[in-house]
Symmetry: C2
Subunit: 566 residues, 2 copies
Amino acid sequence: MVSSFALNGDLTAVKSGDVTGRVASVYSEVQRHRIDNPLPLPSVLLNPFKIVDGPASSAAGNPEEIKKLFPNLFGQPSTMLVPNSTDTLPSDKKLKIGVVLSGGQAPGGHNVISGLFDYLNDRVKGSVLYGFRGGPAGIMKCKYIELTPEYIHPYRNQGGFDMICSGRDKIETPEQFKQAEETALKLDLDGLVVIGGDDSNTNACLLAENFRAKNIKTRVIGCPKTIDGDLKSKEVPASFGFDTACKIYAEMIGNVMIDARSTGKYYHFVRLMGRAASHITLECALQTHPNITVIGEEVAAKKLTLKNVTDYIVDVICKRSELNYNYGVILIPEGLIDFIPEVQQLIAELNEILAHDTVDEGGLWKKKLTNQSLQLFELLPQAIQEQLLLERDPHGNVQVAKIETEKMLIQMVETELEKRKQEGKYKGEFKGQSHFFGYEGRCGLPTNFDARYCYALGYGAGVLLHSGKTGLISSVGNLAAPVEEWTVGGTALTSLMDVERRHGKFKPVIKKAMVELDGAPFKKFASMRDEWALKNRYVSPGPIQFSGPGSDASNHTLLLELGARA
Amino acid sequence: MVSSFALNGDLTAVKSGDVTGRVASVYSEVQRHRIDNPLPLPSVLLNPFKIVDGPASSAAGNPEEIKKLFPNLFGQPSTMLVPNSTDTLPSDKKLKIGVVLSGGQAPGGHNVISGLFDYLNDRVKGSVLYGFRGGPAGIMKCKYIELTPEYIHPYRNQGGFDMICSGRDKIETPEQFKQAEETALKLDLDGLVVIGGDDSNTNACLLAENFRAKNIKTRVIGCPKTIDGDLKSKEVPASFGFDTACKIYAEMIGNVMIDARSTGKYYHFVRLMGRAASHITLECALQTHPNITVIGEEVAAKKLTLKNVTDYIVDVICKRSELNYNYGVILIPEGLIDFIPEVQQLIAELNEILAHDTVDEGGLWKKKLTNQSLQLFELLPQAIQEQLLLERDPHGNVQVAKIETEKMLIQMVETELEKRKQEGKYKGEFKGQSHFFGYEGRCGLPTNFDARYCYALGYGAGVLLHSGKTGLISSVGNLAAPVEEWTVGGTALTSLMDVERRHGKFKPVIKKAMVELDGAPFKKFASMRDEWALKNRYVSPGPIQFSGPGSDASNHTLLLELGARA
């Protein structure tokens, strides 16, 4: 019986009894004990409650356009659970609910599903929960398993998305919406919970709108997932997974810091996952106090060039060298290059040239570059130049994502330091070590915070569906307080939306929440960074603890943002 | 007052009151709580004991040569503490002791020093402990600080070596021995504790021999340190740091495994620190059950070629693909290349050619390679070929250490899979992701095991010096039992030694303990690996816990070796 199921197999409509998911007998001691770790719920969910709607909502931007795109849902109020003398939802009407994981892994996804399952089991007995397999494609192809208590059990408090797996497909075309409708009708779905990031929640809202327009009873509720931390707002204070991922990275950074200080001879350049926003890098900096932290949003706002960034790093290294510190730790967001305007310009020019011309060895092709782009190109280390010219994606475009930014920076810093040495401005020794922390953080065992937050999100999503809501995102608030005091409700997805013009059409988007330079987390960092640069204030958060000291702390970004709001 | 001291500064003979080491006020919650975590001692150390010598010892090999090299120390018995009705050591004679950290960082070093300090404080009041700064160079240059309770306090149970820092110098030449003697005399040292790996402990023994030969009273005791786990024997069952480092790497590997299973589309190639022996890789495999694990010692014993290793990996990938698993996790020891005889041969030939000839673009130089080396060279990915030709160390030698083995293997596997695809033997999709886990593991907060083991090693080293022993390595045994039942003693360093012939001279060495193919850990792995290859038996150990479930487990290697010995 000990066997894993083929994740890519062609299982359709199997009951979970027929497939064998995780088997706790091959679990580590920590994994095993996490399964039965009790999950506290906000007290509003433990006692009779009623659901109270707020005022009509608008949109984050361009409300007229959002209204046109969501004629049935626009203006919906957000909603909140409040204690009541008796329960107000029917306990006798069984529900058929589907759940899907969408996009990249984030610690806690399994607990959202567990929370949803437990709500149905606790309050709407006889209900059925279907897990769509492999992401939104599972909805379109009607690939699912029926989730049972036995099947779900070994996934409780565990990392990963492998209970039902995820996928990156979108439900976009009329045919795809049609497929989703067929599945909803075939399974007689009362509701669907979409666990995903900004794109997936936009998609969830389009699905909700479509079902309502077609008079299909299936309601759709979203849940905020992404380790990147860029799906958040006043009412949705955090996306799940961010807390765990940052703590995993911060553990490693802290270890590397102590190593740097003990060895005294390496500069560690640590690239951190997070292509669009630099929240992870900022949070890791607040947890560990590195000597240098590059925040993409600041680079973009100040229109810094790659040379500016290099010079900043080199300046700090030179000053530290005068203090006899020839070591340090530098954090860089994965998406740094995307934030530098001149790099975007160079890439665009290269794509154009490579599409139409041949790259001659003599370098005549370079004459087609603008002056600024040529200067930048010549500044880049040779390996990066070659990478830009040689490695292209299937559309023939330069693959920026493949550039190992930390290694590129090490080389550029080396070159600049060599120059300063010859000018007599630097006397130290520089040795760079590169790191990329990414995949390690997406599937770790969720922290107590993420485990509890996700459980409440899932449980709350169950309430929202049970009460007939659609087009909302499950919202759990007051997160700085103990779990009992957390608030539970739903936020109108349309209220988070704006439009973008693409190919001449308006497209609804939930804007990614970027690092705000006047936000509390960045301001705190900015007020400390000069001290961190020259004096060593390294903090080593250590490994995530599940009990005892340090096990109940949440992250700095969340607390600072909540504090600034309070 | 919150300030770190300049580790590379020229502080000589400062009292620790004058320098500011770590300041717990910038500690994380977990760091802070670890400081005061009580450290249990073996009960033999808590009650009156006497010291009992065993029989005369010999050497691990070539005892006649070892006897010539250590005329004063050869044959010394190992020694063991046993309970006694009264204490047998004088409590009124104050001691002056030095301690030094030598070589690479390993979690627990600070606790060895704390244990030594506490022994002196508990049992030989009024004694002084000097910490030599920056490794053996600190002894030679007489750079030290006097350790005080206040100075040591924030380092208790903390990772890193930054309390006094480490270094890689050796005390080898007559002049260097002379310098060490001068320091010993100047500080009136009764004893010296050398915390290091195989080389450093050999050095410690030479120092002990030299002091005795010169009638200098300074005794020398070693302590077994290395995350690589290759300093061990029957009487020294483990080197400290291995437990913590492996658990840190295994946490990351476990996370990556869940990610691989959740995503279903990546093969993660994980290179693990450990250049000489593959203990770390083997231990991580036992903790996590990867699909493929390459053990250097097996590659060497079976005289495998790089092509053999590639084919083995590709065979498993093809078989997994038939089972619909297009993902997996592969562990590779950092030192893999050094274990492959044909690679050594190629490197030797390249060094010879590069020293005398120019490498022409047309490739005529390749004719100077033997057939076997030429074939291997042509098999290597282009980037690796270039690296071999271009990057050389200051002596003009090819820099094998810089080769990123995991990336090289990904490219070779890609090429071979492409070939099999064209032959119709493989239909899957392959995407490789590379990782190197190294620096993250050297300075983590020590596990409970390493924290306690190190504390006992240091405390025991104090006993050995107090009782007048020299040339022993602190030995704590019975490690599978609870701490109270651990044994404490010292093992004659000469008994661990053999000789190697270098430049026509015999040189004493403590032979590195390699992975033994008929040892219990490898046999256990070998009995499981076929199952792990095709079925997925991933185990995710999770983050190191300091309290609660999982916090008291030791590692598989140690338990299997102790079990096989029992």
